[in-house]
Amino acid sequence: MVSKKLTLVNAQGFHMRPATTFASAAGKYASSVVIKHNGKDIDGKSLMNIIAACIKVGNEIELVCDGPDENEALAETSALIESGFGE
């Protein structure tokens, strides 16, 4: 299991488009992708779960990936968050 702490940088927060991008990126991997936010575990492969968590700009999150390709999964998903989803 690998994990990384991050801060959401895109101004609009985790709205639908970044959530879609993130969920589809996470979905490619066999490993589980979990976003820890505000004491809750959010399934990073579920668009609806991500949006429902209402993660805003400046919020701290932790990405936790667990499985055979966990390193690759964490690398790609954390890169997405750090890039601010191109916003």
């Binding site: 709205h15 639908m16 609806m48 968590a53 209402c54 805003k56």
Partner: protein, 642 residues
């Protein structure tokens, strides 16, 4: 922000049959338009389409949520349609969409994200989405959403229901002047309530009367009442409720603590009979009492101007006396040092009436009144008219005009504030910076330019009458009594000016009668401050502490022939002070004329002693007049409670 607040009945259509994604979008956009949520329909639609180009907003489970954040949105809103036969929305799971919500978000704030998140949390429940898809009527559709939201976010519903019933905590704030602290405490309490998630309503007992008054029903339903006040407030109405009384400063500095005291039930129940005395109401203040309070607010702010300016002018006379200059019309500003004191003192005097009127108006109408009152007071003090707005030749309406200006400006602004309540909320921000000042300035300008010429007419009539009288030597004593009395009527207004101008005008003729008249006029202007000073010395219980403190200065001003020293007192108690002063002045004037006292200098008071003929009797007349004024003041003014 609840979904059901954003989604109106007219914003929902059931059983739609769009052939394509574009048609579905058209329907939802037009629903937003129908609800009046948009300022620019095509710009909003462009935003929606642009978002769809970046990727479909279909989220699976036969649901799509097209959305746009746009300047074209007036306020955050939702619309929804159901499509029983489904429409191809390019969903990732390949299914047609049967339930579509469209979010219109404003560009500020996180409402967009919050609505999206909340909608999503609810839509994750499949039973909920299938219920929505099967809804038979719009009412049913909204009811399903409301029920689900209530189930999902119970805390919030409790709070909102609480608000429907009333407020958990009530508060009353008040301070003696009722201008700043009352409102600061109210704001602090309201903010703290919001932070603690406690519904609170705060009544302010300010100088403009009570605002946001608590109703009997609200009092009955609340948990308890906070009283943050430095003066008595009406408490009888709180009988049987927990009441916590404290200083207004606590309301400003520790509002959370106060609210928690009520919430944690640390406060004993209040019984009004226990301190019925303390329940002296400020709400039932009589009209007269309110008038007095406004008046005193103006007077207390004006006092420093009068005192400092008056002493400066007296110093100017003193310097010229020491330098031994010629005692003519320029006396008091001949030597450069005297001129400096006289000019600076004069500037302080120039502010006297504007400050008086400004702070009366501010006491009535809060800050919006200030500008209107100050300008009104200035117009009264320089006598502007429509024909002569620069007031080069006209007669000022003086301090009586300034009083009028202050009260009218205050009431006017209060009316204006009431009228402006009906304006759209969007204009709220520009009301205090643009609408009130602009409208107020215009109205007060028109009003005072209309009042001043009336004063001019009075002045002319009086002047004509007086100069007619002065031609008859037999009438010299009554004339002198009249002129001296006139000096005390308005202390700078049309009567005073008429008397003074008549006397100085006659001075040029150089006759003995003219010198006698001049002497009477000056004595008439010297009596009021001295009478008041004597009264504050010997009849202390007629005056407030502040009025007593400023009493001694009036000896100096009176002896210097600076009648203005009496204005703060006359403004504060016009009905008592003015008649007393008039009679005192008239007595002194008549006596001075009887003793044939003469005066060759137009002003200067005691400093032009050398030009006074029969000086001893002159001062005797002055003393008698002042004592008469003092005794009358003692008679007319009510004794203050110890």
């Amino acid at each position: 922000m609840r979904i059901t607040d954003l989604l109106k009945k007219q914003g929902v259509l059931l059983g739609e049959t769009p052939k394509s994604k574009e048609e579905a979008i058209d329907i939802l956009v037009s629903l937003h338009e129908k609800c009046g949520n948009l300022s620019d329909v095509s710009a909003f639609k462009d935003g929606i389409l642009k978002r769809e180009e970046m990727g479909t907003t279909a989220i699976g489970m036969e649901v799509a949520i097209p959305h746009a954040k746009s300047e074209a949105v007036k306020h955050p809103a939702l619309t929804a349609i159901t499509v029983p036969d489904g429409v191809d929305y390019g969903a990732p799971d390949g299914n047609d969409c049967k339930l579509i919500f469209m979010i219109a978000a404003t560009t500020d704030g996180d409402v967009h994200l919050e609505v999206l998140a909340r909608l999503m949390q609810m839509l994750m429940d499949e039973a909920f989405t299938s219920q929505l898809k099967a809804a038979k009527s719009v009412e049913e559709f909204l009811q399903i959403i409301d029920a689900k939201e209530t189930e999902k976010f119970p805390d919030e519903v409790k709070e909102e229901k609480g608000e429907e019933k009333g407020y958990r905590v009530l508060a009353v704030t008040a301070c003696p002047t009722g201008i700043a602290h009352t409102y600061m405490a109210a704001e602090a309490l309201a903010k703290a309530g919001e932070q603690l998630g406690v519904s609170i309503k705060v009544e302010t007992n300010g100088s403009g009367g009570s605002k946001n008054v608590l109703t009997a029903e609200e009092i009955a339903n609340c948990d308890g009442i906070i009283i943050a006040a430095d003066k008595s407030v009406e408490t009888a109405r709180f009988d049987g409720k927990p009441v916590y009384s404290t200083k207004v400063a606590d309301g400003i500095h520790k509002p959370e603590e106060l609210i928690n005291k009520i919430i944690n039930k640390e406060v004993p129940v209040f019984h009004s009979d226990k301190k019925a005395d303390a329940a002296e109401t400020t709400q039932n203040e009589s009209f007269g009492r309110k008038l007095y309070k406004h008046l005193m607010n103006g007077v207390s702010h004006m006092l420093p101007f009068v005192v400092a300016g008056g002493i400066f002018i007296a110093i100017a006379f003193l310097i010229d006396t020491i330098m031994g200059v010629k005692m003519d019309g320029n006396f008091g500003s001949v030597t450069p040092a005297a001129a400096w004191f006289k000019t600076i003192g004069g500037y302080a005097f120039n502010f006297m009436l504007p400050i008086l009127a400004g702070f009366i108006a501010m006491s009535i109408a809060d800050r919006p009144g200030l500008l209107v009152g100050i300008v009104g007071g200035l117009l009264a003090s320089n006598g502007a008219t429509f024909a002569d707005p620069g007031a080069g030749k006209t007669i000022p309406s003086g301090f009586l005009g300034a009083l009028l200006a202050g009260f009218i400006a205050g009431w006017l602004m209060k009316m204006l504030e009431k009228l402006c309540d009906k304006l759209p909320r969007a204009l709220e921000g520009i009301k205090p910076v643009l609408i009130y000042p602009l409208a107020g300035l215009g109205i007060v300008g028109v009003m005072m330019c209309a009042v001043n010429p009336i004063m001019g007419v009075i002045n002319t009539a009086v002047s004509d009458g007086v100069s007619e009288m002065s031609k008859n030597p037999a009438l010299i004593i009554p004339l002198c009594a009249l002129l001296a009395g006139m000096m005390a009527i308005d202390m700078g207004g049309p009567f005073n000016k008429a008397a003074y101008v008549t006397a100085t005008g006659l001075l040029a003729s150089g006759t003995n009668a003219a010198y006698i008249i001049m002497g009477a006029v000056m004595i008439g202007g010297m009596v009021p401050p001295i009478a008041i000073a004597l009264s504050t010395t010997f009849f202390k219980n007629r005056w407030t502490a502040e009025e007593r403190k400023n009493g001694p200065v009036n000896y100096i001003m009176g002896l210097s022939f600076i009648t203005e020293g009496a204005i703060p007192y006359a403004a504060g108690h016009p009905l008592q002070v003015i008649p007393s002063c008039i009679i005192g002045s008239a007595t002194a004037g008549a006596l001075a004329a009887l003793f044939k006292c003469t005066l060759m200098a137009p002003h200067g008071g005691i400093f032009v002693l050398a030009t006074i003929g029969n000086a001893l009797y002159y001062f005797l007349s002055l003393a008698i007049g002042a004592v008469v004024g003092m005794l009358l003041l003692a008679l007319f003014m009510k004794k203050k409670k110890a």
